[in-house]
Symmetry: C2
Subunit: 238 residues, 2 copies
């Protein structure tokens, strides 16, 4: 089985449909099949919601790829192998396919797993990445906050920060972006206060969505239940 | 003087004209005046080259804003104050204006200096940032290299790395992107070799331009004269 078609990993940006690139739009609209990653069959896909207005189900097939959480690497590998085979079948039928990812396909996305699994099955398979606007740039734009300039250094840390020597990173970088900060917020706020940085932090949740929230008084977030899709930008004053 | 118009800081992406966002295109085409930063009058602007095909000089004014290097903060401030006044004059005439920046307007760009100077002159002036695809995402896409995933940490360091404890950053982050790496390359290669990381680094110059270069055998770059617009992605194997 060889695959004359190409798979495009398309970054659709973090929420605002207008932050799709022209290349992303062209690729999405010319793809015979658009693969949409979902956490279970029929689940809502944020990436699809962002670009739904650009798709035409009368001319192209929209296909869910189920990507479930797996505790074991073997289960995960089997899932990606099955998904890869499904995508390759489309390419073998001489159609191009697009795989939607929020933000950018190579920035905390699952796209690479699909690409790796496809290359394992067929080393020469044609895969192209269409980069997108990532959440860190969209959040900075929403706030109007300069992320970095001149000789400044940026650190990006995801999820929980257990054992991550976050304090050291806060001390050594000009700007620190903490992704998916919700569950660690109280501990983060403590570290910021210790360093006099709490007034130099901004919280952004659901960036680019109608429910977007920007909070500059970050200490007011203590003890509150926060959105999973939230980040904190900490920018040390020059 | 009040300014009823809006200034849009538009990120045009790092080189490929198709990496402009739909929002960027709409804003550029509806702006009465497009301001193009140049290093001296008549100099070539990379940002303008990227989006020239979308502009229509018969319907909109394209205006150079000269941004020269200044050793002193006062000279720099005076320059931005003059540029800010020029932009505000356009907005006062009820036109919207766009300011072009390569990549993203809040990621190693000069846009914030214009915005700050305008707000100093008129606190309520209307300024909107249109984020763009930054060089780190476009370079990762060109290479097909995952930048970060899951709980990984990313560091971005610009320019020279004197006193930057680069070794420590290489040891503590999963992925390190070194921007404008050309002048520091030999020292960087030495650090990479010490750590067995030279096989896990990729060099990209002029990403998205016809003369784009990708080099995976980074040791071959030793002692070579390199392009100013070049970066290195170092990704520690999992």
């Amino acid at each position: 089985l060889t695959s004359p078609g190409t798979l495009y990993g398309v970054g659709v940006g973090p929420g605002d449909p207008e932050l799709l690139t022209l290349k992303g739009l062209r690729v999405l609209q010319s793809a015979g099949v658009v693969f949409v990653p979902v956490s279970r069959p029929g689940a809502r896909s944020l990436a699809r919601t962002i670009v739904d207005r650009y798709l035409d189900p009368s001319k192209q097939r929209i296909v869910e790829l189920v990507i479930e959480m797996h505790d074991d690497e073997a289960g995960l590998a089997a899932q990606w192998a099955a998904n890869a085979a499904q995508v390759r079948e489309v390419l073998a039928g001489h159609a191009d396919a697009a795989y939607l990812t929020e933000g950018d396909p190579l920035f905390y996305s699952t796209f690479i797993h699909l690409a790796d699994a496809m290359r394992q099955q067929e080393p020469d398979v044609s895969i192209v990445v269409v980069p997108g606007v990532s959440s860190i740039h969209a959040a900075a734009a929403a706030v109007g906050l300069n992320l970095v300039e001149r000789d400044e250094r940026l650190a990006v840390l995801p999820a929980t920060y257990e054992g991550d020597n976050l304090a050291e990173v806060l001390d050594n970088f000009d700007t620190v972006v903490l992704l998916k900060v919700a569950s660690a917020m109280d501990r983060v706020l403590h570290l910021l206060e210790e360093r006099g940085l709490s007034r130099h932090a901004v919280y952004v949740s659901r960036c680019g969505w109608p429910e977007e929230q920007i909070v500059t008084d970050v200490l007011s977030l203590r003890g509150r239940r926060l959105d999973y899709f939230s980040l904190l930008i900490v920018r040390r004053p020059r």
